[in-house]
Amino acid sequence: MEKINFDQLQEELYHEKLENGLDVFILPKKGFNKTYATFTTKYGSIDNHFLPPGKEEFVKVPDGIAHFLEHKLFEKEDGDVFQQFSKQGASANAFTSFTRTAYLFSSTSNVEMNLETLIDFVQDPYFTEKTVEKEKGIIGQEITMYDDNPDWRLYFGLIENMFKNHPVKIDIAGTIESISHITKDMLYECYETFYHPSNMLLFIVGPVDPNQIMSQVRDNQSKKDYKEIPEIKRQFEEEPSESAKKKKVLEMNVQTSKCLVGIKSSTANQSGKEMLKNELSLNVLLDIFFGKSSEHYSSLYSEGLIDDTFSFDYTQEQGFGFAMVGGDTNDPDRLAEALQKMLLDAREKGAISQETLNRTKKKKIGAFLRAVNSPEYIANQFTRYAFNEMDLFDVVPTLESITLEDVEKAAGNLISEERFTVCQVVPKK
């Protein structure tokens, strides 16, 4: 087990890669009541075209299957795992994103027992035709709930506009039609491909003894027989660099319109330190131009084009990335136009002053300190970073190292009119 010290943050992180390939990280947090643990596979909604172990041919699986599998792992022959966690005083949950599926619990007592439950339930699938059919009703209601949610429709509408082929454009839960094709055999095939320990990461944060926890996990894993599997092969179609669609307007049962402007990333092949610097530089860039202290924010707010739902974000994973800016508005067309012009201007030389950059870096450093108060943030983000070969604890030093040139370069790479797109939600006539 290795120990990594972060002196400035006054944190220590323990790590071991077990024989079966599982990465285990432990971050002791004194003074906290709760222990939070996540067990995550690098498998999300985009992994729908892959080579199952021992097979010759690639398979394509129905939209929404990773999320469906997440639901079904909780059900066992003798009942559901939520019950077991709550008997042990824990609360459990799970989520599926574009690139990850995470299972988690938090508890303030019986930590060892809960950890054992977490690892064992994820590593012991039990799927039957009957339980798969039953789940279709439940997930159907989850899908319908999102269908009525204008913010969700706006967000996915924007992503759908950007990508022509990449499966990031598929809704994570799929559709009622697509999940109707899911069978127990498909679930097993996905499970066997993506839930091998070598594709997974276990993170434990809380008032724990790292030696004891690590030896517990080691013992648990040594009792299970995992054969080595070849590297996972995923397939993605070629994706053009420009946005697939320039604009989409969704009419919905709302009173206030919404508008997002998106930019498809051109640097989605990055990983590691290069990706970290690019991602942080772009988040700094967006904050400089659209943060609450920016001139743009003030002028858009004064003109009544935005309100306090206004937000912006840049996100990148291996294979895709995008920026988005916008929110609720009285005039979605004027807002779209204003934001696109502001983004194009942000690319110009001399658009950013050194003083603004320094101030924004300070802000981002403070925001990171605030974020690491949260065990959830640490576990989830650490995992995300690790799957992209980045280190969460490099964030502050990387922010400190960012120069004006870095931000200008990142802006130059990102901002290009052909990669822009607009999505709006407007009241139904």
Partner: protein, 426 residues
Amino acid sequence: MAIISESVKAMNGYNLHVVKTEKYKTNTLVWKMKAPLKKNTVTLRSLLPHVLQSSSSSYPSTGKLRAYLDELYGATLFVDLAKKGEYHVITISVEIANEKFLSDPTPLLKKAFQFLAEILTKPNVHEGAFDEDTVEKEKRTLIQRIQSVYDDKMRYSNFRLVQEMCKEEPYALHVHGEKEDVDNITPQSLYEYYQQALAEDELDLYVIGDVEEADAETYAGELLTFEKRTPQTAPASSVRTKDSVNEVREEQDVKQGKLNIGYRTNVVYGDPEYYALQVFNGIFGGFSHSKLFLNVREKASLAYYVASRLESHKGLMMVMSGIDNSNYDQAVSIIKEQLDAMKNGDFTEQEMEQTKAVIKNQLLETVDTARGIVEVLYHNVVSGKEITLQTWMNEMDKVTKEEIAAIAKKVSMDTVYFLTGKEAGK
């Protein structure tokens, strides 16, 4: 050792609560202003904190004010409104980095106090009125904030249930106020209300972090001084027992029906029966091991979400679920059966113990965040009680099966609200 070590000190016009803990990398100041919920002040109160946070006399524009916060390592300023029973509570919080985790050792805590004092006591005012531009902008945003409830159907249906159920009570007012009252607010009238609120509201300041009590007291004493007052109390929540259940059905263009059911518990935080009520709610619908989740979702496959929660200071319980429009009768009857089961004591010792363990876990987790600590402690301000978290958990442990069944019998269904799609019944 106490789970939360809170020291409370009476200052000029407010109470200072200090919770010293080393577990955070930031320090948090939370300012609370509480007054009875009333139709003629609810909209003013909703607007006020948003005007205060958008500019001040030293930082006369949002840009300047926010740039200053950025300089302070991204200190956050956040305002919020809540209904606690028949009270309307304004919250203004400032969170700032603890410099011991930064490479730059300039002390920051006092600056956070100075900033909070600036926002509260040195507003952007000319000749007895708030800055007109600021007020106009924030009025516009407030209208959008009120309107946005309509667009989020889960929030909307909950709001509509409360509106129908508490028709004659102040609690029916929306937390962000009334759209038609926004227009009448002027920079003068808002400034007058600001002075009134600072003079009459019950005020509390919470300081959470690696902070010396003496320092907090010195900074607060120097920077924040108000007149002494006897805060107004809201009339006790009226107990309404209807002869029959009120059923409300509303049609809209939605794909999923939203079923929201309101019950009167007639038990509030601080009552001896509150602990049993909390365990009751946990067995009935509070968690993913509860009867509602098991029967409506896992057994009948009718819903993705179905849960119950308590309005602790008002004596209500709310059940909410998203279902297919055609499954209304089945869902309502399963929910009724679960409450009957509770009344008949049809639940095991194990369900009870499990629920107590999960509630305890939830309370302990809540106080792992600075915000959570304040929320737990503020229950005592609202209710006028002094219940420590330890007492809360001990009392809950003692709750018996009989007490839970007795509470279940007191819980009465008041209003069933259903937001349904247009094709319903076809």
